[in-house]
C-alpha cells in the first residue's frame, strides 16, 4: 500500500531534528563493548530492544508488516516474525546470516523507499545474533514515537507540565515581570538574540486595536491614548502601563471584540451558510449560530462551557434557543444532500457526512487529525481506526437540517393561536369537498350526455393539431386552462415547438424565429442562462429543449399578417420522453388570434376533446353541472381557505434554526474496514480516544446509550482538566492570532505532521493559566498583550533575521497584513459609513440564483445595505467574492485554523478597480474634504495609517490632489502597503 509520505514542501519555519547518526553509532559502539565485556543479561536484551530495536521496527517496518501483514509478514511478535511471510521465515534467532530480514535490510531492498542506515542495520544484526528478543505483548506502532511517526509518548499528548519561568541573565527588568517574557527571553537567549525596544504609542494602539477588534483606532482614540501616556510617562510617544492596560480593557469590553474574535472562531469551525456540493443551496437560518459565537466571546463565556454547548446544547440547554443554537457547530460543514437511490452510494455519502463532523471536532478542539484514521490506523499519530469509529458511534445520530427550538411557553403560545385557524381550515376543506362530491354524484347520472359532446381524441403531447377557418392574423396565442398533472393549474407545462401554418396550398410554418417570428411567455427563471427555458425554444425549429411555462399564455407574433388555418404543438415531438413528467403537457386550452395584438378571437379549444385522464374528466363533469351559485360558492370556499392560510402565515414563527436533528441509532455501529460501509468490522461503542487515555482518562458507553448523552460524555472528556490537548490548542489559537503564528504553527494539528512548539514551556504555562482563570479567555488576552514580547517594536534587524527570519522566537513583533475582513471593515470605517448593527440575517456580496442547483455570482455594485462588518456576510461555499476571497478569506470547506496571506495581482485589480473601492474613495474624500487642504491630507493619514504625515508627504499629496482631486488621492491611499500592514 502506498501511503501519505512525510515529505514536506510548505511547512512554514519548521525544522525537524532527527537523532544524528553519530549519536546512534556511539550508543551502538558502547553497547557492543558492553556485550564484549560480559554476557548480556535478559534485562539488558530487553533494554537494548526497547532503546534500539523497537524504534527501527516501528518506524521502518510495521507500517507494512504490522496489522497490514504485507506479503503475509507480521513483525509484531517473535512467533509471527519467525514464521515469516510469503518469502519464508524472516528471522532465525541467533543467526543473522540465515535471517531474511537481515538480508533484505542489509542489501537495501527493504524498506523500499529509504534504506536503513548502517548503524540501524548493525543494531538489527546484533539483535538477531543475541536471539531476537521480543516482549510478550505484540509490538504496537503507537507504543513510542519514532522519526517516522508519533506514539503515545508524543509531546502534545503528555500532561501539562509545571513551569517555573526562569529569570535569565541579561534580561531587562521589564521582561522579568511577566512569565511570558521570561520564557520568550530564555529562548531568545539560547540563540544569542535580544528583543527589540518597546513600540511607540501610535504603533501600539494601532496594533492592539486591530488585534482585539479588527478595526483601526480613530484619531480621537489615538489622541486620548497619547494624552494618557504623556500624563503617565512624560512623553505621548512612550507607552504608559496604566494607559495601555486601560486601552486593552476598553477594547476587550467593546462589542466589536466578539465580532472580530468570533470571526476567528467561525473560521476554525468551518462555519458556512450553504450546503456545499452540487446543490450548494443557501442556508438562511444558520446566522443565529454566528450571533451565538459573537455573544459568547463578548461575554467571555468559559471555554469549557462553550465547547460543551457546541457538542451538546440540545440537551444541556433545551428550551433556551439562544444557547441551544450552539449545536449548529455539528452541522455547519458541507454535506451532500442530492439524494441517491443507490443504497451503496447512499451509505457512503452518510459515512462522509459523519466523517466531516468527526474531523471538525477532532481538529477544532483537540488539534488532532482524527479523520486520518477512517480507513486504517492513523499513519502518523496514535489514533486507531477503533478510536475513529468510537467517535462515529457518538456522532452517528447527527442529521443535518433545521429544527424548531423554543421554550415550552413559546410553543404553547403559538399553538393556541394556530389552533382556531387550523380548525377553520379543516372545516372549509370538508365543506368544499362535500359540495364537490354532491355535484359529481349529480353529474355522473347524466355523464353519458355530457360525454357525448367530447368527440375528438384527447390532446397528445407528441403532437396536437387544431384546424380552423382561414383567418388573417399577425398574433396567435395559446392559452392554457389546465396542465396535464393538475387540472386546476394552468401553468407549469412544457412546449417544445409551436407551429402556425398558412392556409391554402404549399402551407408554410410562419411561426419560426428564422422567419422573423417572436415568441413570448413567462418561463421558469434561470438567471445564469436566461435562455434555458425560454419561449424562444417553441419556435426554434428544434424539438429537444422546451419552454417551461410559468404562466398560462404563449404568444407568437408573426413578422407580418398571414392567412392561417392551422396550428400544431407538442411537448415531446420525438416521443423520447414517453409518459415522463419532463415533458408534462397541457390538457385544456384555447387558441386565440388577433390582427392587432389587442382584440382577440378564439379559433379553437380543447373543450370537445376527450379528457386525458380521470381528474380532468372529474373537473369537466363538475364544471358542466354546477349552477352559477354553486360556482360562486366553490370560489368563496377557496377565498376563505386562502385567507385562513394567510393568517396562519403571518403568525410569528418559532425559531427554526439550522441546529441539526438527533436520532437514536437502532443498531450498534461498526468499524468500516478500509472506510467502506459495505465492509463492517467489529462493533464499536461510544468511547473516548485511546490516544489520550494516559493523561485524560477514558470513558466507554453502552451501545444503547441515549444519543445526547454520547455527545455530552465526549464534551465532558474533551474539557476535562486532565485533557492536555484542549487547553494547549485553544491557548495556541489565541497566541496565533496575537502574533500571526502560533507557538505551534499548525493550530489544528498537534500531531506528527504538524509543527513542533517553539516554546513548549510557554504553551503549557498559558494552558495552565487558562485553567487558573476558569477557562476564561479575556484574562489570557491581557496576559499576552501586556507582555513586553507583544509590546516590542516590529523594526527589522538584519542580524536577528539571519538567525530567525520569521521572528518565531519574537526578537521583534512580527508585522502582518490585514485579513480580508479587516481590510473591508477598515475601508467602511475610515470612510465613516460602517453600519455597526449587530446580529440577524447576513448580507450578501453576490447574486444568488437557484434553479435546481445554486449559482453564486459576485456583485459588481454593492450598496449601503452591505455596509456592515464582514462577519455578518452570509458566507456561502464555493462562492468566491472579490474583496473577501482575493484576500484569503477561506472557502469554509474545511476548518481554517490559519489564514493564508498571499500577494497577487488580482488583489491589486480588485482593490484598484472594484466599484466598492471607488465608492469608499468617494465617501472618504467627502469626509476629509475641508477648506484647508493640508488638514484634509493630515486627517487622511491619521485615519488610514494612525500617524501624522511629514512635510514631504504633505507636499507630494497636495500636488497630486491639485491635479487629480481628493477622490484619486483616497483611491491611492486605500491601495498602499502601509494601510494593509500592521507593525
Amino acid at each position: 500500500m502506498v501511503y501519505c509520505q512525510p515529505v514536506s514542501s510548505n511547512r512554514p519555519g519548521e525544522c525537524k531534528v532527527y537523532p544524528s547518526r553519530l549519536v546512534a553509532n556511539l550508543i551502538l559502539a558502547l553497547w557492543v563493548s558492553l556485550i564484549d565485556a560480559a554476557v548480556a543479561t535478559a534485562e539488558q536484551h530487553e533494554q537494548f530492544f526497547h532503546e534500539q530495536v523497537e524504534p527501527i521496527l516501528i518506524g521502518h517496518c510495521l507500517e507494512c508488516h504490522g496489522a497490514d501483514r504485507k506479503g503475509e509478514l507480521d513483525l509484531r511478535t517473535q512467533a509471527t516474525a519467525i514464521e515469516g511471510g510469503e518469502s519464508g521465515a524472516s528471522i532465525t534467532p541467533g543467526n543473522p546470516a540465515e535471517s531474511l530480514l537481515y538480508e533484505y535490510v542489509s542489501t537495501g531492498e527493504m524498506p523500499p523507499k529509504q534504506p536503513l542506515s548502517e548503524s540501524q542495520i548493525a543494531v538489527l544484526k546484533q539483535w538477531i545474533a543475541d536471539g531476537a528478543y521480543f516482549p510478550d505483548e505484540p509490538l504496537s506502532p503507537f507504543a513510542i514515537s519514532t522519526d517516522r511517526r508519533a506514539g503515545f509518548d508524543w509531546w502534545s499528548l503528555q500532561p501539562l507540565s509545571e513551569v517555573d519561568p526562569p529569570v535569565s541573565p541579561g534580561m531587562p527588568a521589564a521582561w522579568a515581570e511577566n512569565s511570558i517574557d521570561r520564557l520568550v527571553f530564555a529562548k531568545l537567549a539560547e540563540k544569542q538574540l535580544h528583543p527589540s525596544p518597546p513600540a511607540d504609542s501610535r504603533t501600539l494602539i494601532r496594533r492592539a486595536t486591530y488585534d482585539l477588534i479588527g478595526l483601526p483606532p480613530s484619531p480621537a482614540e489615538i489622541a486620548e491614548f497619547r494624552k494618557a501616556c504623556e500624563a503617565e510617562t512624560g512623553s505621548p510617544d512612550r507607552v504608559g502601563n496604566r494607559a495601555y492596560e486601560a486601552l486593552i480593557g476598553r477594547l476587550l469590553a467593546s462589542p466589536r471584540y466578539g465580532e472580530h474574535w468570533g470571526r476567528h472562531w467561525l473560521d476554525v469551525v468551518r462555519f458556512g451558510e450553504s450546503t456545499g456540493f452540487e446543490r450548494n443551496v443557501i442556508i438562511d437560518n444558520a446566522w443565529p449560530f454566528r450571533d451565538y459565537v459573537i455573544r459568547s466571546w463578548n461575554e467571555d463565556k468559559p471555554f469549557d462551557q462553550f465547547v460543551r454547548e457546541h457538542l451538546a446544547a440540545d440537551s444541556l440547554a433545551a428550551g433556551d434557543p439562544l444557547t441551544e443554537v450552539a449545536t449548529t457547530f455539528l452541522v455547519c460543514g458541507p454535506y451532500d444532500n442530492v439524494g441517491n437511490s443507490d443504497p451503496i452510494q447512499a451509505a457512503q455519502i452518510r459515512a462522509n457526512t459523519v466523517d466531516e463532523i468527526i474531523r471538525a471536532t477532532g481538529e477544532t478542539f483537540l488539534g488532532l487529525t482524527v479523520g486520518c484514521a477512517r480507513c486504517h490506523d492513523h499513519k502518523f499519530d496514535p489514533v486507531s481506526q477503533q478510536d475513529y469509529y468510537s467517535l462515529y458511534a457518538i456522532f452517528g445520530g447527527v442529521v443535518h437540517g433545521s429544527r424548531s427550538i423554543a421554550s415550552q411557553g413559546q410553543r404553547r403560545d403559538l399553538e393556541s393561536r394556530q389552533q382556531p385557524l387550523n380548525q377553520t381550515l379543516e372545516r372549509l376543506a370538508e365543506e368544499k369537498q362535500r359540495l364537490e362530491q354532491t355535484l359529481l354524484d349529480h353529474a355522473e347520472q347524466s355523464a353519458a350526455d355530457i360525454e357525448s359532446a367530447w368527440k375528438r381524441p384527447p390532446v397528445d403531447r407528441k403532437l396536437t393539431v387544431e384546424t380552423f377557418e382561414p383567418v388573417e392574423a399577425q398574433y396567435v396565442r395559446l392559452v392554457s386552462e389546465g396542465s396535464e398533472t393538475n387540472p386546476r393549474s394552468a401553468s407549469g407545462y412544457h412546449i417544445d415547438e409551436f407551429e402556425i401554418w398558412t392556409a391554402g396550398e404549399s402551407s408554410r410554418n410562419v411561426a419560426l424565429a428564422s422567419a422573423g417570428a417572436k415568441a413570448e411567455g413567462h418561463n421558469r427563471v434561470a438567471n445564469d442562462f436566461a435562455e434555458a427555458y425560454s419561449a424562444a425554444l417553441t419556435i426554434d425549429g428544434r424539438f429537444g429543449a422546451r419552454w417551461l411555462a410559468a404562466a398560462p399564455q404563449l404568444t407568437i407574433t408573426l413578422s407580418q399578417p398571414e392567412a392561417i388555418n392551422r396550428v400544431s404543438f407538442s411537448s415531446d415531438r420525438s416521443g423520447a420522453a414517453v409518459e415522463h413528467h419532463v415533458a408534462g403537457f397541457l390538457s385544456e386550452y384555447r387558441i386565440e388570434v388577433s390582427a392587432d395584438g389587442e382584440n382577440w378571437t378564439q379559433v379553437a379549444n380543447s373543450h370537445d376533446r376527450k379528457p386525458i385522464n380521470a381528474s380532468h374528466r372529474r373537473r369537466r363533469l363538475i364544471d358542466a353541472v354546477q349552477t352559477e351559485q354553486q360556482r360562486q360558492q366553490l370560489a368563496a370556499f377557496d377565498a376563505e381557505i386562502g385567507k385562513a392560510k394567510a393568517e396562519l402565515a403571518i403568525l410569528p414563527q418559532l425559531p427554526v434554526w439550522w441546529v441539526g436533528n438527533y436520532q437514536q441509532a437502532k443498531e450498534p455501529f461498526h468499524v468500516f474496514l478500509g472506510g467502506n460501509p459495505q465492509r463492517q468490522g467489529a462493533a464499536v461503542v461510544p468511547a473516548s480516544l485511546a490516544t489520550l487515555s494516559k493523561a485524560a482518562g477514558s470513558f466507554e458507553l453502552a451501545d444503547d446509550t441515549p444519543e445526547p448523552q454520547r455527545r455530552q460524555a465526549l464534551a465532558d472528556w474533551i474539557v476535562s482538566r486532565n485533557n492536555p490537548l484542549t487547553a494547549r490548542v485553544i491557548a495556541n489559537r489565541l497566541w496565533h492570532y496575537h502574533f500571526g503564528t502560533g507557538i505551534v504553527d499548525t493550530p489544528s494539528d498537534f500531531g506528527y505532521m504538524g509543527g513542533r512548539p517553539t516554546h513548549p514551556e510557554l504553551l503549557d504555562w498559558l494552558a495552565r493559566q487558562l485553567h487558573a482563570h476558569q477557562w476564561q479567555l479575556k484574562p489570557l488576552h491581557r496576559l499576552i498583550m501586556t507582555s513586553q514580547a507583544y509590546r516590542q517594536a516590529s523594526d527589522f534587524r538584519a542580524e536577528a533575521s539571519a538567525v530567525d527570519a520569521q521572528a518565531r522566537l519574537l526578537w521583534r513583533f512580527p508585522p502582518r497584513r490585514l485579513s480580508a475582513d479587516e481590510i473591508r471593515d477598515s475601508l467602511l470605517q475610515i470612510a465613516g459609513c460602517l453600519n455597526l448593527e449587530m446580529g440577524g440575517p447576513g448580507f450578501r456580496l453576490y447574486h444568488y440564483w437557484e434553479d435546481n442547483v445554486a449559482t453564486y455570482v459576485p456583485r459588481d455594485q454593492v450598496g449601503p445595505e452591505t455596509y456592515r462588518r464582514s462577519v455578518y456576510h452570509q458566507n456561502a461555499r464555493a462562492a468566491p467574492v472579490d474583496l473577501m476571497s482575493e484576500f484569503d478569506s477561506p472557502d469554509c470547506a474545511f476548518s481554517a485554523p490559519r489564514r493564508a496571506s498571499t500577494t497577487t495581482p488580482l488583489q491589486a485589480l480588485t482593490l484598484m478597480n472594484h466599484s466598492f473601492t471607488l465608492d469608499m474613495a468617494r465617501v472618504l474624500a467627502s469626509r476629509i474634504d475641508q477648506a484647508d487642504r493640508n488638514a484634509s491630507i493630515r486627517l487622511a493619514y491619521e485615519l488610514l495609517f494612525s500617524r501624522l504625515c511629514d512635510d514631504q508627504e504633505l507636499a507630494m499629496a497636495s500636488q497630486f490632489i491639485e491635479q487629480h482631486g481628493l477622490r484619486a488621492f483616497c483611491r491611492a491611499l486605500i491601495n498602499t502597503n502601509e494601510f494593509v500592514y500592521i507593525d
Binding site: D336, D342, F529, A545, T746, T902, T903, L906, Y981
Partner: protein, 486 residues
C-alpha cells in the same frame, strides 16, 4: 563528522536568509519547503526542485494542458466505446443486474445506442456517427475506456475528476500546475477556467478551486462571454488619472518600503501592482477574437446559427489563444450544471438520450475538432497535452420508464492526446455491455499520475501540507498508465 554536523547549520543560515527574501509558502510568494529543501540539498546531488519556479522533477514532455470537460456524465457507449452487444440484446435485462438501483432509481432493460458507430481514421477506431468531426482525430487520441469514479453524483464526481478528491475544498489539477510551475507568462494567469455560456458545471467554482493552495493558484475565470473581473478601469477614472494614481501609489509604497526594510511581502505587493497593470494590457489582447482571420472563425464555427455552438466555438478559439500565450492550464467546459430538466444544460441524459445528445453533440463536435486541428497545425501539440474528461459514465440500460440512461461510476471513457501521449491507442475496456471497467480498470488518480508524469512530475513527490497531511493531487493512490505514454 564534526564538519558534517556543522555544515547543515551553515546551510540553514543560507536558506533562512533566502527564505526571508522569498517569503514563506503561506505568504504565497514562493512555496519553499525548508525541510524538503534542507534534506534534498544535503542528501541529493540533483538541483533542488522548488515550486513556482518553472522547475519539474524530470524532463517534461508537455509544457501546458488543455482540459476539455463535458459535465453531466457524457455517455461512453454512445460516443466513444462501441458496444455491439447492446444492439444484440436491446430490450433484454442486464444479466445479473435486473432492475438494479442506481442514482435515480430503478433501471429497465438494456438499451442500444440510438446512433450507429462507424470506423474512423486509419486505425478504423469505431466512433459514434454523432461525432463526425471528432472522428477525424481518433488516430491521434489515446482513449482510456476503463475509467472509474468513486461517486455516482455529479457534484462530487466533477470535483473528483478535477481534484482527485470527491469532496470540495481541494485544489484542482490546474491549481496544482500553477503551484508547481508558476506562470510562464507573468502578464497572464497560469490557470484559466472557461465556463460554458449555459452556466457553471456541477459544484461550480469548486471544480477550478485552488482549495487549500494559496489564492494565486485559483483559476481566473474568463470566457468569450465574460471578461476577467475588475480588469476594466472603473467608470469615471480617466486613463491619465489612472496613470498618475499608480505612480503616486508606487511612490508612497517605495517610501514605505525604505522605512521598512526586510519585509519581502512589501516589495512583492509593489510588484503585484505592476503585474496587474501589465495584465490589464495583456488580457484584453488575448480575448480579442477579432484578431483571428475570417477563415479561422468559420473553421471553428464561431458564427454558427446555433448560438450555443457559436459560443462554445468562441471559447475554443479563446482557449487556443491563451495556450499560445503561455497559460499553463486551460479548463474548457462544454455544457454546464443540472437544471430543472435532466440533460437540458449538460450531458446528463436521464430521460431522453436521443434528443438530448442531438442537441449537445453538434455544439461540441465541430469546434472541438477544429481546436485540435488548429493546435496540431500550429505545432502546439508537440508540447501541449490535451485531456478530454467527464465525471462518470452512463448505464447500458434505460432508466425505467424512460429512454435515457442513469449514472454509472463503474466504467466510462476519458482520453488524452498531444505531447507525451501515444497516438491512436485504446486502453482498457468496459465489459461487453459497458456496465463496468473490465480490462485495466483505471482510476482518476492513475489518470492524473500520468498527466503529472507527462508534465515532468512524480505525483508522489508533488505535495502540500494541509490539516494533518502532505496532500497530493493523487491522494494516496495513482499508478502510471505506461501503455498510453509515447
Amino acid at each position: 563528522m564534526i564538519d558534517q554536523i556543522t555544515s547543515p547549520e551553515h546551510l540553514l543560515k543560507a536558506v533562512l536568509s533566502r527564505r526571508g527574501f522569498l517569503g514563506s509558502a503561506y505568504t504565497g510568494l514562493a512555496g519553499l519547503g525548508l525541510v524538503h529543501l534542507l534534506n534534498s540539498e544535503l542528501f541529493a546531488a540533483e538541483p533542488i526542485w522548488r515550486p513556482g519556479q518553472g522547475m519539474t522533477h524530470f524532463e517534461p514532455r508537455a509544457k501546458r494542458v488543455l482540459q476539455i470537460f463535458c459535465p453531466g456524465a457524457a455517455s461512453h457507449m454512445d460516443l466513444w466505446e462501441h458496444k455491439p452487444s447492446l444492439e444484440k440484446y436491446d430490450g433484454h435485462p442486464l444479466p445479473g443486474e435486473e432492475g438494479a438501483l442506481s442514482f435515480q432509481g430503478k433501471n429497465g432493460p438494456l438499451m442500444k445506442s440510438p446512433w450507429p458507430f462507424q470506423p474512423a481514421g486509419e486505425s478504423g477506431k469505431l466512433c459514434s456517427t454523432l461525432l463526425p468531426h471528432m472522428a477525424r482525430h481518433v488516430d491521434d487520441i489515446a482513449f482510456i475506456h476503463s475509467m472509474t469514479s468513486k461517486t455516482n453524483t455529479h457534484g462530487p464526481g466533477c470535483v473528483f475528476m478535477n481534484t482527485g478528491e470527491d469532496s470540495e475544498g481541494f485544489p484542482s489539477a490546474g491549481a496544482w500546475m500553477s503551484y508547481a510551475l508558476g506562470s510562464a507568462n507573468e502578464n497572464l494567469p497560469a490557470y484559466v477556467a472557461i465556463p460554458d455560456i449555459r452556466g457553471e458545471p456541477p459544484n461550480g467554482k469548486a471544480t477550478w478551486s485552488n482549495g487549500y493552495l494559496p489564492a494565486q493558484h485559483q483559476a481566473i475565470v474568463l470566457s468569450s462571454q465574460q471578461s476577467i473581473r475588475n480588469l476594466q478601469l472603473p467608470a469615471g477614472v480617466s486613463e491619465q488619472e489612472e496613470l498618475a494614481t499608480r505612480e503616486f501609489l508606487q511612490t508612497l509604497n517605495r517610501k514605505h518600503l525604505q522605512a521598512n526594510p526586510g519585509n519581502s511581502e512589501l516589495s512583492a505587493r509593489i510588484a503585484a501592482y505592476e503585474l496587474a497593470a501589465r495584465m490589464q494590457l495583456s488580457a484584453p489582447e488575448v480575448s480579442d477574437l477579432a484578431a483571428e482571420s475570417a477563415s479561422t472563425h468559420r473553421f471553428f464555427g464561431t458564427g454558427d446559427a446555433n448560438k450555443l455552438k457559436a459560443a462554445y466555438a468562441r471559447n475554443c478559439l479563446l482557449a487556443r489563444r491563451l495556450l499560445e500565450r503561455g497559460v499553463r492550464y486551460v479548463s474548457l467546459y462544454c455544457a454546464s450544471r443540472a437544471s430543472g430538466v435532466d440533460g437540458l444544460l449538460n450531458w446528463d441524459a436521464h430521460k431522453t438520450l436521443k434528443p438530448d445528445y442531438e442537441r449537445h453533440c453538434p455544439v461540441f463536435d465541430q469546434p472541438t475538432a477544429a481546436l485540435l486541428t488548429d493546435l496540431k497545425q500550429r505545432g502546439m501539440l508537440e508540447d501541449t497535452l490535451v485531456l478530454w474528461t467527464t465525471e462518470f459514465g452512463r448505464m447500458p440500460t434505460r432508466q425505467e420508464g424512460t429512454t435515457g440512461r442513469d449514472h454509472n461510476p463503474d466504467g466510462f471513457t476519458c482520453w488524452m492526446m498531444g505531447a507525451g501521449v501515444k497516438p491512436g491507442v485504446s486502453y482498457g475496456a468496459t465489459d461487453e455491455f459497458g456496465r463496468r471497467a473490465e480490462i485495466d480498470p483505471t482510476t482518476v488518480w492513475d489518470f492524473y499520475a500520468t498527466v503529472l508524469h507527462i508534465l515532468g512530475f512524480d505525483h508522489q513527490r508533488l505535495t502540500y501540507y494541509h490539516n494533518g497531511l502532505d496532500r497530493r493531487l493523487t491522494s494516496v493512490h495513482g499508478n502510471l498508465i505506461e501503455e498510453i505514454l509515447a
